[in-house]
């Protein structure tokens, strides 16, 4: 490997309950700069734990995680989190802050000037395709689920991070919103040259949006590769994960008559 990967997981392990539960078990994985990696697995597979280890929301027991060649354990955790965008499963917006305050929180914590933050907030609202004037002063409880996740994405991007970590960001949304948001984010990823790690339990979402997919089960990394590489895998679980969307697609094709064109 001639170019050092942006994020490297090197034999990473994490246990809970005094070692009884191995949430992440000896995982080694690379994420290249500019890459969109999806980590797929069921609940309890350790995928969310792996993501939280990356920006030190929790600390790893074993192994090393490096970002741009620097061991995260050597970094100040607060500074580390400020330079990594994070999109939370349930949006994680602060209910007592306006949309603008939520989006601008990380720049504000970094001490940027109010005027710069306000300009940035408007730009980010454009970026996530929400009307500036309409949304800036609203509060989270006045928004729909999809709008809230768009704000969540805007907040993650506010400090101009190279890396965005997403924890099942679209899981709770209706299929149409989810699809639109997934496509919009992928476009942002390409346009801004981001490196994204997306956690999802939905293989279809992973295949449609990610460059590369890692499959986790019981804390272990089962397989990784592009969708077509994974299709070659002889692991039964991986096969099952890929088989389901394919079967669904075939049945849908059969059931839905091709219209118009």
């Amino acid at each position: 490997m001639e170019v050092a990967a942006l994020i490297v997981f090197d034999h990473v392990g994490k246990s809970f309950d005094g070692g009884r539960v191995k949430a992440v078990d000896d995982v080694s994985l690379h994420v290249e700069s500019g890459e969109f990696l999806a980590i797929v697995g069921g609940s309890g597979s350790g995928k969310t734990t792996l993501l939280r280890l990356t920006n030190r929301l929790i600390e790893a027991d074993r192994g090393h995680i490096t970002i741009e060649g620097e061991d995260v354990r050597a970094a100040d955790p607060v500074a580390l989190r400020r330079r990594i965008g994070y999109v939370f499963q349930s949006s994680g917006l602060f209910p007592h802050m306006s949309v603008a305050a939520n989006i601008g929180i990380t720049p504000k914590l970094k001490g940027e000037r109010e005027a710069d933050i306000a300009a940035k907030v408007d730009e980010l609202l454009d970026l996530v395709r929400l009307d500036r004037g309409e949304f800036r002063d609203r509060f989270p409880h006045e928004l729909s689920g999809g709008q809230r996740q768009r704000i969540g994405v805007a907040r993650a991007l506010a400090a101009k991070p190279k890396i965005v970590l997403m924890d099942e960001p679209f899981g709770a949304l209706d299929p149409l919103t989810r699809d639109a948001l997934g496509d919009d984010y992928r476009a942002l990823h390409d346009r801004l040259g981001l490196t994204t790690v997306l956690i999802t339990h939905d293989m279809t979402e992973a295949i449609l949006h990610a460059d590369r997919i890692a499959v986790m089960r019981g804390g272990k990394l089962l397989a990784e590769g592009t969708a077509s590489e994974l299709a070659q895998s002889d692991d039964a679980y991986v096969g099952e994960l890929l088989g389901t969307p394919r079967r669904q697609a075939e049945r849908l094709n059969a059931l839905l008559p091709r219209g118009g064109a």
Binding site: V78, R81, F88, Q89, G92, F94, H96, I105, T106
Partner: protein, 528 residues
């Protein structure tokens, strides 16, 4: 009805009550606000520190709950000896002392009292925040302190404010009980009113305290909704109201100048009358006087020794047994002489006797006493096992009671404790058979009761004596102003004065009765 209302409002006691309002209300607000501020200053950081520490959390809430189970009056009273001990320690170690009387013990006890609702609600509020919000705060790069100040506290605010409001109402209500430890408060109305059966005063004190509590509660509510709904005007109005209250408390009480003489009074009508009499004599001699009324029996002497009050009337037997813990009794004059020597050791001046005795005596209706042929406590002892006895709250734990029981072999069927003012009516109506009354009480004559003789001299003499604080020991002006009172008040005059004070009408105020008493003293002087 309207006639009743007009005469009710025309009652001169309203005017008397209103005249005290600036002083009482100001002091009440001052002590309540200081206590609440201190309570918040301690409770909020403690709650924040304890929020993620289960053991500390349990310990704090447990301790605060225990404090809450202590009755307010007892908690306030406990702080007095505690601070007194602390003051003598600081004097011994660091060379300075402080007053353990009034403001300080009241503030400390009330602050302690305010802690439970603040601690509990702050902990509940902080721990009730959705963990995903806390993770988000961490995830966007907040330090623990930033997460606390910009996410956790704002989100917990409504629950915290509910606790603060509860604490404010409790503190303002309980502050009425700080009167007996020497802190002027709206409780002065209530205590004075209860002792002199002046229900107008009691009502006035209760209503004033309730209105104050309501006002503070509403101001806090206004601030809270303002903060929560980001309504600037509301926040500002509530904040301004609270700031105005605090500012008002910082304006020193206009009624009291530092050089004025402070006259103390215990918690019963006779003491209110005598303190009013002393104040009037001082003012007649152009000496400014203020009074601290409704002081607990144990507090008042220490307050005199420490110079928190300058002069008050005590009773020889009370000091002999309670203050100096003597077991044996001596003949009246010898006891007075010994007392004088002992008081001098604490630099307290026994200025002289007023001329009457207010002793404990076993009292029963004259008709029943005659029917059973009971003249003395010895006669009573024979039938006592069939009878019930009532006394004030302290009598049964006083040495006199032990002495009476041992001397006469007294043993009653039932012992009850009562508010002194209700005892006489209770024994007159047959509710109880015997009471431990006070010989100078006017109600003895009013209800046709008789005080039983004490042939074995089990009860010490209780001469009313004027005591002067160490710092006023050489004050000739004070002595001259009080000299005319010495030996001039006989038991008949005091009984009548006490009866008047219990009259329950406009002429029954301690001040009016004291003026009557002074007129009587003067006329007897000229008659002689």
């Amino acid at each position: 009805m309207s006639l009743f209302l007009t005469s009710f409002l025309a009652d001169p006691r309203w005017g008397e009550a209103l005249a005290h309002l600036p002083d009482y209300l100001g002091s009440h607000v001052r002590v309540s606000v200081t206590a609440l501020a201190l309570g918040l200053l301690v409770s909020l950081p403690l709650a924040i520190i304890a929020r993620n520490r289960p053991v500390l959390r349990g310990l704090l809430l447990g301790l605060a709950s225990i404090v809450q189970t202590v009755p307010g009056l007892a908690l306030l009273a406990l702080f007095y000896p505690l601070l007194l001990a602390a003051a003598s320690l600081t004097l011994a170690w660091f060379g300075f002392s402080f007053s353990a009387f009034g403001f300080l013990p009241a503030v400390l006890a009330l602050a302690l009292y305010s802690m439970l609702p603040v601690l509990r609600n702050t902990l509940t509020g902080l721990r009730g925040i959705d963990p995903s919000i806390l993770e988000a705060a961490q995830g966007v790069g907040m330090t623990p302190m930033q997460s606390l100040t910009s996410v956790e506290l704002p989100l917990a605010l409504p629950v915290m404010m509910a606790g603060i409001r509860t604490a404010a109402v409790w503190v303002i209500g309980t502050a009425t009980l700080s009167t007996p430890i020497g802190q002027t408060s709206l409780g002065n109305y209530i205590f004075a009113g209860l002792q002199t059966q002046n229900w107008v005063l009691v009502l006035f004190g209760c209503a004033a305290a309730a209105l104050l509590a309501l006002a503070v509660d509403q101001l806090l509510a206004l601030t809270e909704t303002g903060l929560r709904t980001r309504h600037r005007l509301r926040t500002a109005l509530g904040g301004a109201g609270i700031a105005a209250l605090v500012a008002a408390t910082l304006v020193p009480s206009l009624a009291r100048s530092a050089s004025s003489y402070v006259v103390g009074a215990k918690t019963f009508a006779e003491q209110y009358v005598l303190s009013a009499l002393i104040s009037q004599r001082l003012e007649a001699a152009s000496l400014p006087a203020t009074s601290r009324e409704g002081l607990g029996s144990n507090v008042i002497f220490e307050a005199l020794v420490n110079g928190d009050i300058d002069v008050y009337v005590d009773y020889s037997g009370t000091l002999w047994t309670n203050q100096f813990h003597h077991v044996g009794l001596k003949p009246r004059q010898q006891l007075l002489d010994d007392l004088k020597t002992e008081l001098a050791r604490q630099k307290v001046t026994l200025f002289g006797e007023l001329g009457f005795e207010n002793a404990y005596a076993l009292v029963m209706p004259r008709k029943r006493a005659e029917k059973y042929g009971i003249r003395t406590v010895s006669d009573l002892a024979a039938i006592a096992p069939a009878l019930s006895i009532a006394a004030d709250y302290e009598f049964f734990s006083r040495p006199e009671w032990t002495a009476l029981r041992t001397a006469y072999g007294l043993n009653f069927r039932e012992q009850r404790q009562m508010q002194p003012d209700f005892m006489y009516a209770a024994v007159a109506s047959g509710e109880v058979d015997v009471i431990a009354g006070y010989t100078s009480d006017g109600l003895i004559a009013k209800y046709d009761l008789v005080a039983l003789g004490d042939p074995k001299v089990a009860i010490p003499p209780y001469d009313a004596i004027l005591l002067i604080a160490p710092k006023r020991a050489d004050d000739q002006a004070l002595r001259e102003a009080l000299q005319p009172l010495l030996g001039r008040i006989d038991i008949a005059a005091m009984r009548e004065a006490n009866l008047r004070a219990a009259g329950g009408d406009g002429d029954a105020s301690p001040g009016a009765v004291a003026r009557w008493l002074w007129e009587k003293i003067k006329s007897e002087k000229t008659n002689r």
